[in-house]
Each structure stands twice: as C-alpha cells, then as structure tokens.
C-alpha cells in the first residue's frame, strides 16, 4: 500500500502535476535559462536538491512552526539550503555558476519550492515529502531539459554544445530569444495537457479543476465552512 503511494507521489510530478507545465510555477527561471540544454540541467539539479532538502526540513518542523509565520519560516529554511547549493556550485562548477548568474540565488523565491512546502510538506511526514520533492524536482528538470533541447537545437543548431544541425539549416535565432521561449513553453504546456487527464469541461473551470485542488488550503477551508 505504502509502496504504491510513494510511486504515485513520485510520478505525479513528472506529467500529471508537473510543476512547470501543469501548475505553471517557476516560469521565470524556465523562460530565462533554457536557451541551452546544459543550463537547464544545472538549474534543474540545483533546484531539485533544494526542493528535497527543504521539503524534508519543513516536514520535520511542520508541528513546530506556528501557522501565522509559516511563510517567513519556510523562506528562511529554503534560503539556507539555497546558500549551501550556491556555494557548492561556485566551488565545484564555476562555469554553471557563471551561466546561471542571478537565477541561482533566485531559487529562494522559486514558487515551486515554496509551493510544495505549503501544499505538501507541511501536511505530510518526512519520507513522502522527500519523494514528493524528488518527483517535482525531476519534473522540473525534465521540463527545463526538453525546453532547453528544443530551443538550443533550433536556435543554435547544437545540443549540449555538440553541433547537430549547424551545417544543415541556418539556426532560427528567435528560438533563443524571449519570444521563442514563450512559444516553446506554450507548446509544451499544450502537450502536457494532452498527455495528462482529460481536460476539464468548461463548466468545471475553477478551483475544482485545478491540478492542485486536492491539496489547496483555500478549498479545504471553504469546505469546512
């Protein structure tokens, strides 16, 4: 019983509740750093590490943190882990630090991490929270990587710096510019919607059709009232 639920907690982050493509969280780093696949991998791994650690810590402390000041408390915990990751990246892979630039420290305010803390970690025990963080992190990385591969392949003709299309076609530079980023992002959201459950009927639009509906605090409060 528990094993299947772990599997579910892990896989839901990849397509069904993919943080970027289904929940549309963390769009800022998604659009900004996916001009190359290598950036996407660096960003994805860094965010996943922070996500797992912060989910675990917040889940451990969920009974200690007073409800009224939970957001500042979460941000402090997340900021601590981001500092650790940032120092590690700076020490071991300075090139990635250079390309990610400001977006690495900005993981602190990445809504995926705060979102998972608020939606999941403060209601569940440690192990499911870690699995949830891992699944969400993998989903985030997968979304970034697919965007990065598409944009790098079409916009510069390479994948991870290896020339693939450079001699065949002229690179379509717009794909590594912001408009191309939005375009690829929209296309991937459309594909993710197609791959996940049937789209909500128009009448059901609203809180109940949201992929977060199950965990959302505003809905449960309404139901209680």
């Amino acid at each position: 019983m528990e094993k299947t639920s772990f599997k579910l907690e892990f896989t839901k982050g990849i397509i069904k509740e993919n943080p970027v493509l289904r929940l549309v969280l963390g769009t800022c780093p998604t659009l900004a750093i996916t001009t190359a696949a290598s950036n996407a991998i660096g960003m994805g791994i860094a965010a996943t590490l922070v996500l797992i650690c912060s989910n675990a810590a917040i889940s451990l402390l969920r009974k200690v943190i007073p409800d009224k000041v939970r957001i500042p408390a979460y941000i402090t915990i997340i900021a601590g882990f981001v500092s650790v990751v940032q120092m590690l990246v700076k020490a071991f892979t300075p090139e990635i630090d250079k390309t990610l630039g400001i977006y690495l420290p900005l993981i602190v305010v990445n809504c995926i991490i705060l979102g998972r803390a608020e939606m999941y970690a403060n209601k569940h025990t440690v192990l499911p929270s870690i699995v949830d963080g891992l699944g969400m992190g993998v989903g985030f990385t997968a979304a970034l990587l697919s965007m990065g591969i598409i944009r790098e392949l079409l916009g510069s003709g390479t994948i991870l710096g290896i020339p693939i299309l450079t001699n065949l076609i002229d690179p379509v530079i717009i794909f590594i510019l912001p408009p191309g980023g939005f375009f690829v992002f929209g296309m991937l959201i459309a594909i993710a919607n197609k791959l996940s459950d049937k789209p909500a009927k128009k009448a059901e639009l609203g809180c109940s059709s949201c992929p977060l509906g199950k965990n959302c605090t505003s809905i449960s409060k309404k139901e209680e009232a």
Binding site: D170, P171, V172, I173, I174, F175, P179
Partner: protein, 317 residues
C-alpha cells in the same frame, strides 16, 4: 401554415460581397507591385512569391484539417498573406526561409488564434518580424536592381536608401525612388505600382482612405517638423506598402472612423521615431504590429454611441 409567411433570421439583405471577392480584389491590387518586382529583380522574385503563397496555402489547409475545422483555402486570404509576406522579403532570400515564414504566418499567427478574422496582428508582418529576428543577415542582404539572376554568387549586395540615409551617404533621386529603381524588399520598392494598387482598392471600396492618409500624413508632417526630407521618407522603406496594404487589414485595424485616425497617426509617429531615433533603419512593420495590438483598446475608447443616448441628456432623464 403557408410557407410564404416564414420569416428567416436577419440579415435579410446581402450585399453579395464575400471574403473571397474582397481577397481577389486585394490580389488584383497587388499585381502591379508584383510585376514591378519581377521586372526589377528578375524571375527569382516570382519564385519567392510562389514559394510563400504555396507555403501559406498548404499550412492553412493542413492546420484546418488537423484542428478539424472547415477548409478555408478558397477564401484566398492565405494567398494574400503569402504575397504580402513575399513583398516583405529581400529577393535573395533562401527559399526554405521564405517557406518557414509562410508556415509561421499561417500556423502560429493566424490559425492558432482561430483563423481568418481572429488573428490579433497581421500574419504577414508578424512573420516578417519573426524572420528578421531569426535570420538577421539573410533578411538584410539587399540586391541591386537589375542584377539578380538565379545563382546566388552573382548577386551584388548593397544598402537600402534608408540605411544609407542613416549614415548620410544617400544621393536623393525621387525618380528612382518613385519607380522602384532601388534596393529593398521585393514589394516595397515601386511606389508607383503600390499607389496604383491603392487607388484600385479605393475605387472598389475595399479600403477607406482614412488609415493610409493619416499614416502617410503623419510621417510627412513629423519628418518635415524634424527637419528631414518628407518625400524621401514616404517613398523609401516599406511605408507605402504598409500604409496601403498592411495597416488597412480588416481584422487588425479599428472599425470606427475616430479609431482609424488614431491608428493611422499612431503608426506614423512610431515609424518616424523608429526610423530617426531607433537602432533599426526601418520601422514600418514594428509600428503596425504595435498598433495592431492596441486596436482593442482604441475601439473601446472610440465606441460609437447609439443615436439618442449619451451626452448631457442622460442626467435629465
């Protein structure tokens, strides 16, 4: 019941004008410029036009089919988009890039927003901007008139009058500018042919003169005030093509008279600002697209009041 008493829903009278008739008139109006570009730039101009038209019509057919909507290629709007797109390209353009532009115009800008009548910007212009951003070198390689042949090696490249004017090396020659003996995009060069097409559209009442006059007039007055040569600025670049054929697109221009005036003046101001103070030598496409995006707001502000409503009488009632 007597079937003669059956009353159908309005409208009861139909003027007989259909989309395909309007589009056919636009195509006829574009023919002088098309002929001029083929005379000036050679047979390759015709090939580029055929490629973009074919690409537009095919993309329209396939995307309508994929979205399970009715086939709209016979309304000829895709053909007009294809010709206008080709008019916005240099003659030396790689044919694959031209075809890509057609796909971008129809699939991304037109069909993804719902097809004819639903696009929020002019498809041909948006495709031109996508191409300018994607292939800056290919999109700014201008060939000298009467030198173009099939093989790419023979093309003699040169700068357009507008980019020459930016660096101050252009010798004014109104005759050459008026008849299109100058480098530039395929359709924009021959002012005489474009004006001829514009007059045809006006006579057929396909377009009203409001937008072109406001647009060109604004450019004339502004360049005059700023101490530039107004006639040069009207005849060079894509101003006439944009003002007559692109800014007057039904879907992306305001319906009301006041709205059209605002739209035309806005396009003119933006064009002059981009040309004189911007980083690019030409700004017609960007200014029309920008004003296209503002059209819903312009229409909201210039909405016509029904007779008898509004004004001071509201308080009295």
């Amino acid at each position: 019941m007597n079937s003669k008493l059956y009353v159908s829903s309005s409208p009861h009278l139909h003027s007989g004008i259909t989309i395909s008739k309007i589009m056919l008139d636009v195509i006829i109006a574009l023919i002088p410029a098309l002929v001029a570009s083929v005379i000036i730039f050679g047979i390759r101009a015709l090939i580029v036009i055929l490629v973009t038209v074919l690409s537009c019509v095919t993309s329209e057919y396939i995307s309508r089919k994929l979205m399970k909507r009715d086939n709209t290629i016979y309304d000829l709007s895709a053909v007009v988009t294809g010709i206008l797109l080709a008019f916005n390209l240099p003659v030396s353009i790689n044919l694959a890039i031209a075809a890509f532009g057609g796909i971008a115009a129809i699939v991304v800008v037109k069909q993804m927003f719902g097809g004819i009548g639903q696009n929020f910007v002019n498809p041909a212009l948006a495709a031109r901007i996508i191409l300018v951003a994607s292939f800056p070198t290919a999109m700014s390689t201008w060939s000298k008139p009467f030198t173009n042949t099939f093989s790419k090696a023979d093309i003699i490249t040169t700068a357009t009058p507008l980019s020459k004017a930016v660096v101050g090396t252009y010798d004014k020659n109104y005759f050459d500018l008026f008849f299109g003996i100058r480098p530039g995009c395929m359709g924009e060069i021959c002012a005489a042919a474009l004006i001829l097409g514009g007059i045809y559209l006006l006579i057929r009442k396909i377009i009203t003169p409001t937008i072109p006059i406001c647009y060109i007039g604004t450019v004339f007055i502004l360049t005059l005030i700023l101490g530039k040569d107004p006639i040069f600025h009207i005849l060079s670049g894509g101003l006439l093509l944009g003002a007559i054929f692109m800014a007057t697109d039904y879907t992306t221009s305001p319906l009301t008279f006041k709205g059209k005036v605002i739209f035309g003046i806005g396009c003119g101001i933006l064009t002059v600002l981009i040309r004189l103070y911007g980083a690019l030598p030409e700004g017609v496409s960007f200014s029309i697209i920008l004003m296209n995006i503002l059209v819903p707001h312009i229409e909201k502000l210039t909405i016509t009041k029904p007779f008898g409503k509004g004004g001071k009488s509201i308080g009295k009632a």
